[in-house]
């Protein structure tokens, strides 16, 4: 399947950094680490002639706090006009931190963790009942697996053999206040999901080809989980390491860039690094 080069991880990261800086908001690390997953989906995997085509594949960004990464992809795809992108985190905008279904190209509003996968199961069941070949993709966070409702959906999907459902878990090892291993350990996700009857694949979450290949496959009748190992803040050294460059009163902490906005200096460094790594 042809990959739309315009939706490149590099271009998405530029949008994420510049829009976060313009709006002076955080969640930058969470957006940067899912870039390749969303790029793979929008450049290659998702079959959608238009944002409102009823037969389009559905995508649910259950970890809604990475909404800006989704806006970046929609913008590069041409579904989100640049002037509307510039309303991100403005007033009276449809582009809040978390995605809103009133915006063309967003299938479901999300933001409350543990709910998106239930919607995805419903969308997959609907496709099955309608005899449609459309598929459903859902991106969850590793910490989202703390939510009990998620496991309700996991069990139902396996029971009903929803092989048209593909869930990607962004295994970045962090949650809002600490590392996941120190809160609710997710290191045995493979065993957990397999035990619940899912087909589980593991990929490098920053390899678009690996993600595309994993999402193209199904095997038997089981629903599909792709565990994408990612690096929080991917692409910006100090974010990956959790260094608050300008905010010297803060200690080095891997979770810093869950919430921090960038100073002018931090933005400058981030853009430089992005260009160097390209």
């Amino acid at each position: 399947m042809a990959i739309q080069n315009s939706i490149s991880p590099q271009a998405m990261r530029q949008i994420i950094l510049s829009q976060s800086k313009r709006a002076n908001v955080g969640h930058i690390g969470s957006c940067l680490c899912v870039v390749e997953i969303i790029a793979a989906l929008y450049a290659s995997v998702l079959r959608a002639a238009s944002p409102d085509d009823p037969q389009r594949d559905r995508f649910i960004l259950s970890k809604g706090h990475a909404g800006l990464a989704l806006y970046a992809a929609l913008s590069l795809k041409g579904w989100l006009p640049p002037e509307q992108l510039d309303t991100f985190c403005g007033d009276d905008t449809l582009l809040g931190v978390h995605p809103e279904s009133a915006l063309a190209g967003i299938d479901f509003t999300t933001g409350s963790l543990g709910q998106g996968i239930c919607l995805a199961v419903g969308a997959a069941l609907a496709a099955r009942l309608q005899g449609s070949k459309r598929r459903v993709f859902c991106l969850i966070s590793d910490a989202e697996c703390n939510e009990g409702s998620l496991w309700e959906a996991v069990m139902f999907a396996a029971q009903h053999r929803l092989s048209n459902l593909h869930v990607v878990v962004d295994l970045n090892g962090q949650q809002a206040l600490a590392l996941t291993r120190d809160v609710i350990d997710q290191s045995n996700l493979v065993e957990r999901w397999r035990a619940f009857g899912w087909r589980v694949l593991e990929v490098d979450g920053h390899s678009v080809p690996e993600i595309v290949q994993a999402l193209a496959e199904t095997e038997g009748q089981a629903p599909n989980l792709v565990i994408a190992r990612t690096v929080f803040g991917k692409g910006v050294d100090y974010m990956e390491k959790g260094i608050p460059v300008s905010q010297t009163h803060l200690a080095v902490n891997p979770i810093n860039w869950h919430y921090l906005p960038m100073s002018d200096k931090e933005y400058e460094i981030a853009i430089e690094q992005l260009e160097q790594r390209a």
Binding site: P54, R58, S101, D107, F108, T109, G111, S112, G114, Q115, I117, C118, L119, A120, V121, G122, A123, A124, L125, A126, A127, L129, Q130, G148, S149, E152, A153, M155, F156, Q159
Partner: protein, 313 residues
Amino acid sequence: MRKAFITSLCELAAVDDRIVLMTGDLGYMALEPFRERFPKRFFNMGVAEQNMIGVATGLAEAGFLPYAYSIGTFASLRPFEFIRNGPVHHKLPVRIVGMGMGFEYGHSGPSHYSLEDIGVMRTLPGLSIVIPADSAQTTTAVKRTWNLAGPVYYSLGKDDKLSVAGLDGQFELGKVQLIREGRDIAIVAMGSIAQEAAAAAGDLARHSVAAAVIVVSNFHPDPDEHLAGILSRFRNVITVEAHTLSGGLAAFVGSVIATNGIECKLLPLGVRTPPDGTSGNQQERWRKHGLDRASIVRCVQSVHEFSLPTTSS
């Protein structure tokens, strides 16, 4: 009302293949007619109400008309945030069906009482709320609201034989039902406890007190204008609900009286006390909480004794 609901739903499903019925593993001796007739459109979701509402939302987005069934408190309170963020936020036609209003699950105890569902659901603009008082009204209400574009919450009763005198199967969104005329006092009731209000009005008539009885059976759109027009001629209004006084009928009627500047006194009968661990059958619960016909009559008598000096002077 259960039989009326499932019979109506089967009739609708026969002509509308968008309809699917989901249950949180409840509805023994109730949902079987649908399951037998439309096995491919019946889903036992397991004991998982949050996922049930989430899946219903995903189905509705793709064009289905899902009915999600459970006991009232499990259908409304447990998945509340899923209802809020799912069908309500997305304006999708999910139908949530809560069985057992008020104290109907008497001996099952407090976990099974639906005493807050209407108040909680009323906090969600965009969610229509339907609370039939008897079986005939259930049939009309289900058939009049099946095709609404947005989501609906149904609070239904278990009693299949119940018939509230004067209601005659009437139901209209945005309207109340005036089931008995009377000039002395108005009794407004919600849900199956309307039978007690109607019975009390009969008892009062024998004491030459003419009580009007009004049934409130839906919210969003609220029947506020219709109710205000009726209440404007009364000095005293009693509300009767097997529900807490927060957010339910008393809150609604009080708001209608205040916002319309109606000069009358509200006497709210409802659940005022926190759970004390006890349970009992519905009639006993109604008596204990001062909601049965005798309690309603006593409430009326107290107002009339108060009113006598002013009316006779």
